[in-house]
């Protein structure tokens, strides 16, 4: 008995490895399709949902998911599916701006710090350390309080929290690439500091940074939803995902779909962004 289990064990393990290997591209395709759907929702919400995300039919309040209302309805009778579709633009655009903000400023700081070194590096990195020292949610909240409420303000607030991660990664990559022979060779063949930096160092350090950007996209969505949940994001009745989860909280005992379905949409978006980030860094390694 024990003999048979022992001999069969390696073969099962091998086949499960094979299965995982085959499943991997399927997961990646699923992630890409899902994100593409989210983008389509954001760009052309009217094509996917015909109702009104703001004004509901009061008599249809708190209906469970059905053929007529895929995601159910909320207390004021608004169709949740319509609200989720129209909400995607708020969440995705805010997340995109946040990531771009972090990417541009973080990579810029990292590039300067990693290539100039010396005092500039020390000063910039201590500033980054300060950013890292403050909890990111607290930092976002303080920035929103300073900048005021609004989509752009939320985006900047979330973006600033990711500057530190981008700066650290970009600096490490720049320092790695800076030590390569081909960078020295570029200087030897007469390249000026800036031209070598832009032509050789930056492009060769960018791949892991792009992978981090995809990862940060997921994190940013989560942060934006969290800020919305706390009431620091878009004001009601905006169909923002985090705000929707917060609004549904009061009905969680009776109407599970109000929090669960937007929650699942957020989770899936984050997971899809993670999967794509992994694919980018894997391709980089290969």
């Amino acid at each position: 008995m024990s003999d048979t289990t022992r001999t069969s064990e390696p073969s099962t393990r091998r086949s499960s490895v094979r299965r995982a290997g085959r499943a991997r591209p399927i997961l990646l395709v699923a992630a890409a399709v899902y994100l593409a759907l989210m983008v389509a929702w954001a760009v052309l919400p009217g094509l996917f949902a015909h109702g009104d995300p703001i004004v509901g039919v009061a008599t249809d309040g708190l209906q469970a998911p059905s053929a007529a209302h895929w995601f159910g309805t909320d207390a004021t009778g608004r169709d949740m599916y319509t609200r989720v579709v129209f909400g995607s633009v708020h969440t995705l655009v805010t997340a995109l701006i946040a990531v771009l903000f972090g990417l541009v400023f973080g990579t810029g700081i990292g590039l300067v710090a990693g290539s100039v070194r010396g005092v500039v590096d020390a000063v910039l990195m201590r500033l980054v350390d300060v950013l890292l020292a403050v909890p990111s949610l607290l930092l976002s909240l303080s920035i929103i309080i300073v900048l005021g409420f609004g989509t752009t303000q939320v985006a900047i607030a979330v973006g600033i929290t990711s500057v530190a991660a981008f700066a650290r990664l970009a600096r490490a990559e720049v320092m790695r690439v800076r030590a390569m022979d081909y960078v020295e060779a570029a200087f030897a063949s007469g390249g000026s500091f800036v031209s070598v930096l832009l032509r050789h160092v930056l492009p060769n350090s960018l791949t892991p940074v792009i992978a981090l950007a995809a990862l940060q996209f997921g994190t940013a969505i989560l942060s934006i939803a969290a800020l919305g949940f706390l009431g620091y994001g878009a004001p009601p009745p905006t169909p923002e995902w985090g705000l929707m989860i917060a609004e549904g909280r009061n009905y969680i005992a009776t109407s599970w779909w109000l929090t669960t379905i937007p929650g699942v949409v957020v989770v899936l978006t984050v997971l899809a962004a993670n999967r794509i980030s992994t694919a980018i860094s894997e391709r980089n390694r290969a």
């Binding site: 022979d181 081909y182 060779a185 570029a186 063949s189 007469g190 390249g191 060769n204």
Partner: protein, 554 residues
């Protein structure tokens, strides 16, 4: 005493019998056969050398003999018998009893082969514990005995040290000690010295020889260096593209080669070829250029590296002076840490020396910076050791070769294109290469591109920092041929930096020998070879592989 408990191991059978062995690696595009119908046998106390270039299948053969083929590797045909046991179909579990106890492995790179967080003594005890050598005190005694055997000083101290506290040569000795711990019948040494300095290489190979003579252990030595094979082996197998080109007793193979490929290899091996020029030729050449100013003058160069506040600075280069004349080659020779690369970087203006002067084509490299330095580099180019690291992986060959010209705003776009193609042609690469990227090329092709990039600006001085050390011997020979052709046609002066004295003898008219940053000897290369003055130079010359075999043959 250690008992050989393995059932079926026959001490009187040949240690290795390989019959018609073929191996294939499976990949995305199907199976790739890497070894075809290889047969040989290795008797007790013999040394068999597998010689070949990268990709010849020599390492695959060695891996198959110890059951460590890569996961996608598979024996498609033939059989392997070790000590009379047919191990062809063995599972990884069966191999465990053989590895370490009957077969010892000495890996290629000692720097990455010891667990950095384990003490030397624990690393050595591991193999003995795996094979139940004995109780703790007995194991400890054996560890000390082994370290003494491989000639490591102060073994009681070493067992408590960590790998980073030991030099490369000492680490390789520890690994040899680990390989012989269980008195194996066979030691497989895969390029055991290619990561080590030449003088260290000699002592390590001597040690392996001694162990073989004293305990009757057989040695399978894998090497790309024909000269090493010539010195050490009783039998030689020459492999190319997974096929045996020639095999037999080493004297027969090396001095009366039958196969075309063996002859080519022998002709390309710098250590086994004779001098290419006499010192009188060089003296005449030097006399001719006497009135002209040397293109590189290094005078009393000192480079001190700070080692923190507590330690005194490290004098990496200590009062070194030499000259390179127009159209000639001067070699800087030394082992790792001798300061030769530091000098190269100072000459290139990448690093300001602590004191001393460097004149390149009349420009003082120690004082220029910014634009002046950029202009000076137009006449001063460099080729790096590793062609895999010196080309930007994102650029095409065309972009690589055009970039220096656009940096100096030379010519129109069309002229640059023409010069790019001319440069490719000069290094004997087809014009179709222009569209390729580095990862699509072989090491030799990449090094040609690196040389083309250096030549496209038509420099007066080319610094070659170990420029052929990472290449296979036939590729090395063709690159050296290319370099001397360029020198003849363009009159470029070379500062040739190398640890390989045999190569230096082929290319350099004059040389400087460096040891720990000090120039211990300099002069005309042939004079130094004929009558070395400094004891360090004598040691270096003695360590050149192939010398033993040559003196035996004479």
């Amino acid at each position: 005493m250690i008992q050989k408990q393995l059932a079926g191991w026959n001490a009187s059978a040949p240690v290795v019998e390989v019959d018609g062995l073929s191996i294939a690696y499976s990949g995305r595009t199907g199976d790739t056969a890497v070894l075809h119908d290889v047969s040989f046998s290795l008797g007790r106390g013999d040394t068999l050398t597998l010689v070949g270039e990268s990709g010849s299948g020599k390492t695959t053969t060695a891996q198959a003999l110890i059951g460590l083929l890569a996961a996608n590797g598979r024996i498609t045909h033939g059989s392997i018998r070790l000590g009379g046991l047919d191990v062809t179909e063995w599972s990884s579990k069966q191999w465990l009893r053989l590895r370490g106890s009957h077969i010892g492995l000495v890996p290629q790179d000692p720097h990455n082969s010891l667990n950095p967080v384990r003490r030397i003594g624990d690393s050595l005890a591991e193999v003995m514990n795996l094979h139940r050598f004995g109780n703790a005190p007995a194991t400890r005694r054996r560890v000390i005995e082994l370290l003494e055997r491989v000639q490591i000083s102060e073994p009681e101290l070493r067992v408590k040290q960590y790998p980073h506290e030991l030099s490369g040569g000492m680490k390789q000795r520890v690994l040899i000690a680990s390989a012989i711990a269980m008195r194996p019948a066979l030691i497989i040494a895969d390029e055991p010295t290619s990561a080590l300095d030449v003088t260290v290489q000699k002592t390590i190979l001597d040690l392996l020889d001694e162990l073989r003579a004293e305990s009757g252990t057989s040695v399978l030595l894998v090497t790309h260096d024909l000269a090493v094979a010539a010195d050490r082996a009783t039998h030689v197998i020459v492999l190319k593209d997974g096929r045996v080109q020639e095999q037999g007793p080493s004297a027969a193979v090396l001095w009366h080669p039958q196969a075309q490929y063996t002859r080519a290899l022998l002709a390309d091996a710098p250590a086994l070829s004779a001098a290419v020029r006499t010192s009188d030729d060089v003296r005449a050449q030097l006399a001719l250029s006497q009135h002209a100013e040397p293109v590189v003058v290094v005078n009393d160069l000192v480079q001190v590296f700070s080692r923190g506040r507590t330690l005194p600075g490290l004098r990496a280069v200590d009062s070194v002076s030499f000259e390179v004349r127009r159209g000639m080659t001067h070699a800087l020779v030394g082992e790792s840490g001798s300061g030769k690369s530091t000098i190269a970087r100072a000459v290139m203006g990448f690093q300001k020396p602590t004191s001393g002067g460097i004149l390149v084509d009349g420009v003082d490299m120690t004082s220029v910076s910014g634009q002046q330095l950029r202009q000076a580099r137009r006449r001063l180019q460099m080729v790096y050791q590793n062609p895999f690291g010196s080309l930007d992986p994102r650029q095409s060959v065309q972009q690589i070769l055009v970039e220096p010209m656009s940096n100096y705003r030379i010519g129109s776009a069309r002229e640059r294109q023409q010069r790019m193609l001319a440069a490719l042609d000069r290094v004997s690469l087809p014009a179709t290469m222009a569209a390729k990227r580095p990862h699509e090329m072989s090491g030799g092709q990449r090094q040609r591109v690196a040389i083309a990039r250096a030549l496209v600006l038509e420099p007066t001085v080319l610094v070659l920092d170990e420029a052929v050390s990472a290449l296979d011997v036939t590729v090395q020979a063709s690159i050296l041929e290319l370099l001397s052709e360029v020198q003849r046609e363009l009159g470029t002066a070379y500062l040739f930096i190398s640890h390989d004295l045999a190569v230096v003898r082929q290319v350099a008219q004059t040389m400087t020998v460096l040891s720990h940053g000090v120039a211990v000897e300099s002069g005309i290369t042939e004079d130094v070879f004929a009558s070395p003055q400094h004891p360090y130079t004598v040691t270096l010359l003695d360590a050149i592989p192939g010398r033993r075999a040559q003196s035996r043959a004479l």
